[in-house]
Symmetry: C2
Subunit: 392 residues, 2 copies
């Protein structure tokens, strides 16, 4: 009983956390309930029931299956489902007619053949990457509707009636989903993508801002705790590719909303995202040096400290400004001076290395700092590329 | 017409490529067609049709929706669908009974309330990461079946009959899927995961093996083409996290097959995968140096060349041996000498740097090589960790 209680408390805490992390999840749950209850009302109205009969359940099914977290995903699924049902319904009626004029024996064979060929072809088409990204669900529904119309038509003579009923109920369900998802606290995938890209840039920016100080004052270990949450944050950036692509796919379905036009350049976000990840890989490499905690000789660090801190601080600030510019969709005018500064620092690093200060130094002690410095100057280059991308 | 022809040729070529990349896709398409045609036969047999009636279409639906590329995914979806239908059917009948004893006015209100609450609760539970990974589909079907049974029960007095029919047809469809997917050219997610992890290690291994030579002989640019395909290969490793996790989730559903037991330690693969990616991040950093093509002074490179080539070659060989050991599931006995060699090389790098050979050298020219060397020694550490993981 004690164990059970602990388990229940743990689950409750978990539930609360998931709700608090993103309150839109709670709202989404109620939206699904709402849409489903709305459509269920169809059953209660006698006239509607009479005209649709048992087909009314397709409306319920459509709501359950189509309703997704973001508007884009819901719209995409709804449109896919509607169009696929229409196309497959038409084809199914045609195939059924063709089969029915071929006699008693030919009919089941022909229908079996049609179903087999169409299912195989559509399944194969689903492997095309571009199709998979946007029309996967539509092809699934296409196979489904075609088989149902074809096969059930074998028994049912009112096949046109069935196709028509199925189509109308699917449309009712899909419309209910889309309306609830757009008008009740909408969750826009485009907005999410926008926020994600800008947040990722900001995360990297603040890591870089803090990195210089952190690295050259490794003795003060009191900041250890902050560092851990930093670490986790940029690990998420490393693996953000899939979620960015999914969001961009959803966003392409969305109509104009907020500051976004219908043909907002979503692919540009993916490009910025790729560059951001490249920058994050460099930071991953830097991070290894932060953890190794080699005591840097004061004599060496005095040469490098200023330049390195400047490089990381300025490129961090540039990234943060870029993030802010993306967020507010303004021209990133305050970024250029930061990038200029970081490039100056990177150049002075070059000239510092060319000086002949190093004769009496142990190379083993210079190397770690120098590596960090060269990684930082790679980051400066990366930052510049991101800035160019954002300007576009 | 010319343009159209070019388009058609392009699509045909694309189709051929997708089929050739993985011939299992073609087989999979035919398997779906086969399973669907098998289940459609249900409609042709009069006695079966009489006992199931219109419910027989659930079998067709189940096949279309449940049949996935790998056995694990199909089994997972099938089990999810079966159990969820059973649970939701039971609950739905109970809810309907409760509502029906509460009078004419109370009935629709109660049913609406039940549907709303259950749909909202189940939708929220789908956000739990662990649930989402394995039982997402089950919860979807749970909401679906519960609403259908509840709502349609409002009209239909033979509600038990309906629930029973739906359950049996779903079971028939799911069984057909599972049988076809297991016995006709099965695609095991576990095997795929196994191959993917070992392939990723091998890719990194061959990049490392080639890296040393490539870097120190940058003048011979004839290898440029090979390098590009290399590059693409390890980029895939960087973003392999999602596909590895998906495969591991599917693999957990699979029964014993081939060399794999039922409780094969799939999570160990994820651990190795994470370490592999860490190693790939280092290679990404190395790759930047390969592209920058700074001419290395012969005087400097003569010091570093041997050690660097040895480090990269030996760690590359170690990774390849580990990949082979994973593939054949043998103890990786030939790995240890390679790791030992690479560690020796890494140590001699340390002592090389400690020597005072460097007084008359320009530091700017040493730094790139030294950075590469230090990245390589990071990789050596990484390789060792991977080896430990594989031993487990």
């Amino acid at each position: 009983p004690e164990k059970l209680k602990a388990e229940v408390v743990k689950i409750a805490r978990n539930t609360k956390k998931i709700g608090e992390d993103d309150p839109r999840r709670v709202i989404h749950s109620f939206k699904v309930g709402l849409a489903l209850t709305l459509v269920s009302l169809l059953y209660y109205f006698q006239p509607v029931y009479n005209s649709f009969g048992i087909s009314a359940m397709w409306a319920v099914m459509t709501v359950v299956v189509v309703f997704e977290f973001s508007v884009g995903a819901t719209l995409g699924k709804g449109i896919n489902r509607g169009l696929a049902t229409l196309a497959a319904g038409g084809l199914g009626v045609g195939a059924h007619h063709l089969a029915s004029i071929s006699g008693k024996i030919g009919e089941p064979i022909l229908i079996g053949l049609f179903v087999f060929l169409l299912a195989a072809a559509a399944t194969f088409i689903r492997f095309f990457p571009k199709v998979k990204a946007r029309y996967d669900y539509g092809l699934l529904i296409f196979i489904l509707t075609f088989s149902l119309v074809c096969v059930s038509g074998f028994r049912n003579d009112e096949i046109l009636e069935l196709a028509h009923q199925r189509l109308s109920t699917v449309l009712i369900g899909a419309t209910a989903c889309v309306i609830v998802s757009i008008f009740v606290c909408p969750v826009w995938a485009g907005q999410d993508l926008h926020n994600l890209v800008s947040l990722n840039l900001e995360t990297l920016g603040s890591i870089l801002e803090g990195f210089g100080d952190e690295y050259f004052r490794t003795s003060e270990s009191e900041d250890g705790k902050d560092d851990k949450s930093f670490l986790q944050a940029y690990k998420n950036v490393l693996n953000s590719k899939t979620s960015e692509e999914t969001l961009a796919n959803f966003a392409k379905w969305e109509p104009r909303h907020g500051h976004f036009m219908y043909c907002h350049p979503w692919n540009q976000y993916l490009k910025i995202g790729t560059l951001t990840r490249q920058c994050a890989y460099q930071i991953e490499a830097l991070n290894g040096h932060l953890n190794s905690k080699i005591q840097v000789m004061p004599k060496i660090s005095e040469h490098f400290q200023e330049i390195c801190i400047k490089m990381s601080l300025e490129s961090g600030k540039a990234l943060k400004d870029l993030a802010f510019a993306i967020k507010t969709m303004a021209e990133p005018c305050s970024v250029d001076p930061h990038i200029k500064n970081s490039k100056t620092a990177s150049k002075s690093l070059q000239s510092l290395l060319e000086l002949d200060l190093w004769e009496d130094l142990n190379l083993l002690e210079v190397i770690p700092v120098a590596t960090v410095a060269s990684l930082l100057s790679d980051i400066v280059v990366c930052t510049e590329k991101i800035a160019e991308s954002v300007h576009e």
